[in-house]
Amino acid sequence: MEPVLEIRNLNVEYGLGDKAVRAVRDVNLTLHKGEVLGLAGESGSGKSTLAYGLTRLLAPPGVITGGEVIYHPEKSDPYDVLGLSDKALRAFRWAETAIVFQGAMNSLNPVHKISTQLTDVLKAHDPKMSEHSRNARAREMLKLVGISPDRMDAYPHQLSGGMRQRVMIGMALILQPQVVIMDEPTTALDVVMQRQILGQLIELRERLGFSVIFITHDLSLLVEFSNRIAIMYGGRIVEEAPAGTIYRDALHPYSKGLLSSFPALRGPRRELAGIPGSPPDLAGMPSGCSFHPRCPKAFEPCSTHIPVLGRPGTPDGAARSVACWLHPTEQPVG
């Protein structure tokens, strides 16, 4: 499969100097064409920072301190997003990589009509487009996400939370980007609405062929909706594998912990365990593997040496990677 987005050794810090907090550490991740890549982890594990970092939307004091984000456009040569000029970056945003944000409620400007907010992005990226065709395109997008086009003139407060998030999804797809980043897109919605919206998104993906980075703390959603899952802990990716593999046979004790924290709808009953302890303080990370103080299987090297993300020695090892001393690797990834 062809890659669309390659994240190489990305580092993001909040603050400068000694007091800086490293929120994303040496992350390597590749998003392939047409796939849904899930990114899971507890609060504060760096998932959202990773997403903001790769689109250069970090609010101060967030700084990207190193790495590359290589984007592969459909027709031209790949380039590093982190090296784009302001103008090129503006052109890149939304047209190549669109984002659906966490707060469905606050992502739309309350004083502008839906139509204004759908069309201004068209105007910004294609100034020559006529007003008529801009409106037609906006209506088309609303229809695509299942909202009646006569809601064009509605204000955000006149729509329900689910409708607003659907408007945001429609807005994200309006320029036909190759990559859509979903940052906990359904957190503010009820479970029924979550499934409905995600189901619709997957269907749209099959039709339009974009790739998705899907960020959530809800691993059960990811197992169902994504092709591949990457698990983040303390700013690092600790395990990455196809969704089914993670679900059936997670290697990292943290992934196992996450998986046993929610009940399965089908299949045999199992004990809900949860993970003891609390997420690490990013400002004062434990030495070695940052998970070792909470890990039930920690042994000697864990507290002193950082495990590298690499291919494990299991039979399906070629398709997955893990960073754990239980599964030492000779072949680091990235």
Binding site: H112, A124, Q158
Partner: protein
């Protein structure tokens, strides 16, 4: 629409209450205008003259407060605000309509300019935090804490004098007759410069500060991040997303300040002896001139109420969330 009618009813009630208070308060003040006239004539008034003055001013004892109150309302509906005691025998309505344009033009134009400059600078300072505009803030805060009449006194002390371009008092050169001609208008402009600058300097900083703070608050909203993520130009995000939303509280503040144009700059007019409403009010107060005071308070009250109504309307227009459906 129902909301709108409710507002109108509310304003009518407030107007009634204000006019009623307006009627009673001067009558509760000890002393009366005839006494002050007697003092003015140093007692050289006969008893008959004094009695006829009481009758003329409607202060004869036969009429109770209630009858006076009814009379007052009847006069109001005829647009008759009574005769002024100080500028006897001019009617109050004429004195006010002579003074009002001076105040409205001076303070009105200054308020609008101040709002525009202050809001503009506030948007800039809020959007470009950490640039040179942050250095502007302590300066403006200093000026906003200085009372404007004091600033006026300093300005008169420093800038006016026999050879100065700036006149120290009045609304126009006393050698001229008010008319819309090429002599009078420049003179009026020249006389208004110092008072206008004084008001401008002391009021602009309030707008800068409030606008900047709202910009900072709005800048951290999610929809601003979305606007950036959409690849909109910096200008579009700053104006149409951040400033547009940050403007809302300032707009209502502006509408309210329009209400205080008529009565709010009393002290500047007094300092500069500017022939506006505030200056007249000072004279009316000194002479216990009830009809004139009542007339001026009435105008101020109406101005404040109209401004409030405007603020309500502006909000309805600018913030869709305040509109009710249907």
């Amino acid at each position: 629409m129902k909301y709108f009618l409710q507002r109108i009813a509310f304003y009518l009630f407030t107007l009634w209450a204000a006019i009623t208070l307006n009627f009673f308060i001067p009558r509760l003040v000890p002393g009366d205008p005839v006494q002050s006239l007697i003092a003015k004539f140093r007692g050289q008034l006969s008893t008959e003259a004094i009695n006829s003055l009481y009758v003329l001013f409607g202060l004869d004892d036969d009429k109770g407060l209630w009858a006076q109150y009814i009379d007052y309302w009847q006069q109001l509906f005829r647009g008759d605000l009574g005769l002024s005691f100080t500028f006897f025998p001019s009617p109050v309505s004429q004195i006010i309509s002579d003074a009002l344009p001076w105040t409205v033009l001076l303070v009105g134009i200054t308020t609008v300019i101040s709002f525009l400059i202050g809001t503009g600078l506030g948007v800039f300072a809020g959007w470009r935090r950490g640039s040179w505009t942050d250095g502007l803030l302590p300066v403006t805060t200093f000026f906003s804490s200085v009372p404007y009449f004091w600033l006026g006194i300093i300005a008169i002390y420093l800038l006016t004098g026999p050879d100065s371009f700036f006149p120290s008092s009045g609304g126009f050169d006393s050698a001229l007759v008010p008319a819309w001609d090429q002599y009078f208008i420049p003179s009026a402009l020249q006389h208004s410069l110092l008072p206008a600058l004084t008001i401008l300097i002391s009021s602009v900083s309030g707008w800068i500060l409030s606008m900047r703070n709202m910009m900072v608050t709005v800048s951290s909203e999610d929809y601003i991040t979305v606007a950036h993520a959409k690849g909109l130009s910096e200008r579009r995000v700053a104006v149409s997303y951040a400033a547009r939303n940050a403007l809302l509280p300032n707009i209502s503040g502006f509408a309210l300040s329009l209400g205080f144009i008529v009565g709010g700059t009393l002290l500047v007019e007094i300092v500069f002896s500017y022939p506006g409403v505030g200056f007249i009010l000072l004279q009316a107060l000194g002479a216990k001139d009830y009809p004139l005071m009542q007339g001026i308070f009435l105008v101020i009250t109406i101005a404040v109420l109209v401004a409030n109504l405007l603020a309500d309307l502006a909000y309805l227009l600018l913030d869709p969330r305040t509109r009710k459906e249907g």
